[in-house]
Amino acid sequence: MPLAEAQALAILSPGVYATLPLWPLVGAVVVGLMIAGRAKAERAFWPVVLGVAVSAALGVTLFVDLGRPVWSAEGHGPGGGGAGHAAPAASGLTYTLFNWMSFGADESLAPATNRWIAVNFFFDGLTGIMLLFVTAVSLMVVIYAIGYMRDHHGHPERGYERFFAFLGLFVFAMVMLVLAGNFVLLYLGWELVGLCSYLLIGFYYGKPEAAAAAKKAFIVNRIGDLGFALGIFALYQFLRGHVQPGENPLDYAVVFKYAHALATTGAGLWGLTQADVASLLLLCGAVGKSAQFPLYVWLPDAMEGPTPVSALIHAATMVTAGIYMVARCTPLFGASPAALDVILVLGLVGALLTATMAMAQYDLKRILAYSTISQLAFMFVALGCRAPHAGVFHVFTHAWFKALLFLTAGSVMHAMGGVIDVRKFSGLRTVLPTTYRQMLIGCLALAGFPLLAGFWSKDEIIHAAFERHPVVGGLLLVTAALTAYYTFRMFFLCFHGPQRLPPEAGAHPHDAPPVMTRPLWVLALGAIFTGYLGVQVGAGGQFLGVFTPHYVFHDYLGQSTLGAAKAAAGGEWLMYVSAAVALGGIALAWARYGRAPAEDPDARLLGGLWRLWHHKYWVDELYDRVFVRPLRGLGHVFFGTDRYGVDGLVWLVSAVPRGAAFALSFLQRGALQGYALGMAAGVALLLLIWTWLD
């Protein structure tokens, strides 16, 4: 079901949708001006909240607008309207704002035909879905932050205005990333969200850990981005020979148009095709941004930032950018089996590795952080199994319940006076009843409890994995069981057992104010119901006789560069298995942690293995020894070379004339006999040369 340009975007014109990124930026700039004008911090959130709200309104409108072919389609069956044949690669609408940079006019073409890197936006089904949750979740988080970034008396924290300015800037950057219509603009959004992440992780820059975490996040991401940039260069290099006059070589539409040609041309390197090389290089960027093995190390440390930031950037939106990029480039990655296999392996390793790490942590936010990495790895597996629709579906549902989880964790932290160590408190269900209910919904969704959002999307990925290979599916099932277990271990440690409070919590800890809890209810609704966009309810379904996977979500996504989704065939039993796995994990957690024991039973039972998990396999220490310190050492080696080698050589050169001058100065001591002798010798020498030359 390709998105024909004529029928696309009828509610508002593309030019109006193109202002989507602008509003949060305007809000951020206004706040910046307020800071410069030394306005009071109290109301500093308004410009950004309004800006994000306008964006969210536009995002919802765009979502509805792009989906008109889907809404109007009569009668839905598995496979939707596009069943049987893949949609053309470039099925979106490219809207150009202005030309950014020219590759220079090509003289072989007609005069004045420039090849541009344009500032252009790309609209298709994937854009619609991404923008819907990016803007909506952002809005909830921004509203929540109004209350969160205040102390117990309701006074704004230091840097309150700055926080909102950065949030506005972040939403701008993220929307740019999603809307970008070419790879260079994507790279711009990509690096800008990295910058915002840096600024927001380091928000409490007075804290040395926060400063270090911010730096780590940026540099680790830059390592991935290095590959990403090289991927862009490679694409340009490969496509230069293909593009026709008027086509910009790095536009999505153009790249995907020629993806097939790239897949059939060798790159002259280890037997890889050009599509392989470009995909693998681009993948590096996704591995960094989406915190995949082996570049995931920055994400847990990123929890040094304020909790709304963790919710928004490091769980719900920014970290999905890598998944988005690979899904967006489905025509390219799909043409490269090698890249897909790499994605699959990285995803499997990451999912299992970080799930085990999450088993043995005590920091509430870090447990959630490792679960985020693990879930992102699930999405990677989906991409690697040629099921990008399932991956994007999980991105979509995950955004709601992970934002919910982080923000409720923030509520706990807020009530506990900043303490997030789950050993320091327990039995909070009576102290924070609202937070308890909200977190329960989030945990159930994350654990894959049947009928909640996370269940449907996760199950679809497991399904795709089993189709790929039973071992892949089996490993994912194990990870899913671990997920249910560690999620509820955390939940029971916090909310069940005897009531214990840390001294920092004060005398009367209480639930958060309405400005914080209300957006959470919206997210909770999302955590429960968003899955039903992708699941058809009706008699004769595969699961419990009522539910059939594959619904409007997939049709909607079918009209994008992902192409039509194919419905899963067979394997109805899998849904029961994954439901059982989730329930089993939760039950086991209840058995072991239901009373929030003071001493950790797992630590005792598992011994060395548990310590290995607790210390995260010592990966951070390993990287420090293998990369960070040697590099710093290399810096000193180079500087030493510069100081004593190169500059020493310079000194030697300059020593020659100085030495000569010093030596010759002995000849000039004012003794006339010496001068006379020298003169006579000189004359004799000259005469000798003269006769010899004759």
Partner: protein, 538 residues
């Protein structure tokens, strides 16, 4: 060629100011003269915009040859020689125009940065300082406007002497050492340039002898003679190219001729560092683009492999050295070396895109590096030391300054949306896709790792200086003053403008001329491949 007088005023207005500085009474009047003169020069230079179309991407790209589109030209005989006259020949084209604007702007802002002269711990007076400062501007503008090689050489030397004194008299503790090192290095370079200058004159066929840089590049008879001549038994072109290259490389500076730079920067007063990094380093790149490549294109292809390698060495070597620094200013100095490596790499591959990237990087670095040096100067004025490890938490103490500093260093780091990104990106993509060179892709990949190293040393520095707990001894530091913000704000605005509208702010001005220069080259690297192949042992 369009004749005009604007450039003459531009070049010599600072000289008039320099003379005035010597006669007006009182230190404050001298400062005023300095700022007003540089300000007026800047405003005057804006008049050049009338000749260039920021809105037109294709103007001047086709249909005219190198040197045909020159504006504000003055061409009069200066010294009559037997063969040909030495001319006072000045003019601007798309290559020199952005550099002229950059020069007048950075000099003006550096003059503003000199306003707190009384607080510097120096023994010598302000009169000499501003007099030399203005003479320096004449020299710099002259270099960028001169189109006669002899005149170019004169201005090159005119610029050298004031710089020597400005470092050597008003500098830091080791000022004499740094100044003499700078002087001898540059002088050695200009001697080699002088040899090339004379050789160009004498090796041209009779009747074609000239110092005119445009004719040297475009006269077929001269080009043919240069192509076949021998110089001391060696091929003329490569020898001349190497002589000129060493001269320019010292200025850029290129490894291994760079060791004067960190010393000079560390000792120079802040405004002089700004000029040194912002403009003087750019003269090396400008010289290569104006003299070496148009006149000796074959030698350029012959040397391409080595020059690109030197560029890559600059990038990595500079970045790693910067990582090891504890002196804030020395760190920025090494980062300059690293960033200028991209310029060298872009030039070496000799394609239009490479030249565009190199020139963009020249201007971008001309904006970000003076800003960074001034940022260092601001805290040096307060703390009177530059030890990175002794700072901490300055963002908490000075929020406005801290924000501007973050912007400046991120521009230097190459964040997309700011000026540094476009230059690096353009050079790298041009190198990566330069199909005529077999070595181009490995070089591009190596150079790209510099991007990570840059992030490493800059963020590590930011962490140690600006983030972390506010230290007790710095809590009393006043926020950036209005004057300091006035110096930083134009740089910040330009860093953003160049990042967002690169085509309109820069590419459209210079692409035409750069294209004309590459059109002078022989058909894409046929000879070069064999030479490079021989060097690689293939």
């Amino acid at each position: 060629m369009e004749p005009g007088n604007l450039l003459n005023w531009l070049i010599f207005l600072p000289t008039i100011g320099a003379v005035l500085c010597l006669i007006v009474p009182g230190a404050r009047a001298v400062k005023l003269i300095g700022v007003i003169t540089t300000g007026a020069t800047f405003v005057l230079s804006l008049g050049l915009f009338q000749h260039f179309a920021w809105w037109d991407a294709t103007r001047d790209v086709f249909g005219s040859g190198y040197g045909q589109k020159l504006y504000e030209v003055t061409k009069v005989t200066w010294i009559q020689l037997s063969g040909a006259p030495i001319e006072y020949f000045v003019g601007v084209d798309g290559l020199s125009f952005p550099l002229v604007i950059l020069t007048t702007l950075v000099t003006f802002l550096a003059a503003l940065a000199s306003w707190n002269f009384e607080h510097w711990k120096v023994s010598r007076g302000i009169r000499g300082y501003f007099c030399l400062f203005l003479l320096l501007e004449t020299g710099m503008l002259g270099v960028f406007c001169a189109l006669d090689f002899f005149l170019f050489y004169i201005f090159w030397e005119v610029m050298l002497l004031p710089m020597y004194f400005l470092i050597g008299v008003w500098g830091g503790p080791r000022k004499e050492y740094a100044a003499i090192k700078f002087f001898i290095y540059t002088l050695a370079g200009s001697v080699l340039m002088l040899v090339a200058l004379l050789a160009f004159y004498f090796y041209a066929p009779a009747g074609h002898q000239t110092f005119d840089l445009i004719r040297l590049a475009t006269d077929p008879a001269i080009q043919a003679a240069f192509g076949s001549a021998l110089f001391l038994g060696l091929k003329f072109g490569p020898v001349m190219f190497v002589l000129l290259y060493i001269g320019f490389a010292i200025k850029v500076p290129v490894f291994p001729f760079h060791t004067w730079l960190p010393d000079a920067h560390v000792e120079a007063p802040t405004p002089i560092s700004m000029i040194l990094a912002g403009i003087l380093l750019k003269m090396g790149a400008y010289g290569l683009l104006r003299i070496s490549y148009p006149i000796l294109p074959d030698a350029g292809t012959w040397a391409a492999w080595g020059l690109a390698l030197l560029g890559v060495i600059n990038i990595i070597y500079g970045a790693l050295c910067a990582m090891a620094q504890t002196d804030f200013k020395r760190l920025v100095a090494y980062s300059s070396i690293s960033h200028m490596g991209y310029v060298l790499l872009g030039l070496a591959i000799m394609t239009p895109a490479g030249f565009q990237g190199a020139m963009f990087q020249v201007i971008a670095h001309g904006i970000s590096s003076p800003m960074c040096f001034f940022l260092v100067g601001v805290i040096y004025d307060r703390a009177h030391h530059r030890e990175i490890n002794r700072f901490g938490g300055l963002w908490l103490t000075m929020p406005v300054y801290g924000s501007l500093a973050t912007l400046g260093f991120f521009a230097s780091l190459g964040l997309p949306g700011l000026c540094g990104f476009i230059g690096e990106f353009w050079v790298l993509i041009a190198t990566f896709s330069a199909e005529q060179w077999s070595w181009a892709q490995p070089m591009a990949i190596l150079a790209a790792t510099g991007v990570v190293l840059t992030a490493g040393y800059i963020l590590w520095m930011i962490q140690r200086v600006y983030l972390g707990k506010a230290r007790e001894e710095y809590k009393s530091f006043p926020e950036a003053t209005a004057r300091e913000i006035a110096v930083l704000a134009p740089f910040a605005a330009l860093a953003i403008a160049l990042g967002i509208l690169p085509q309109q702010t820069l590419f459209n001005f210079m692409n035409g001329t750069l294209h004309q220069i590459t059109n002078l080259f022989p058909a894409a690297g046929t000879t070069a491949l064999t030479v490079a192949g021989a060097l690689l042992g293939r």
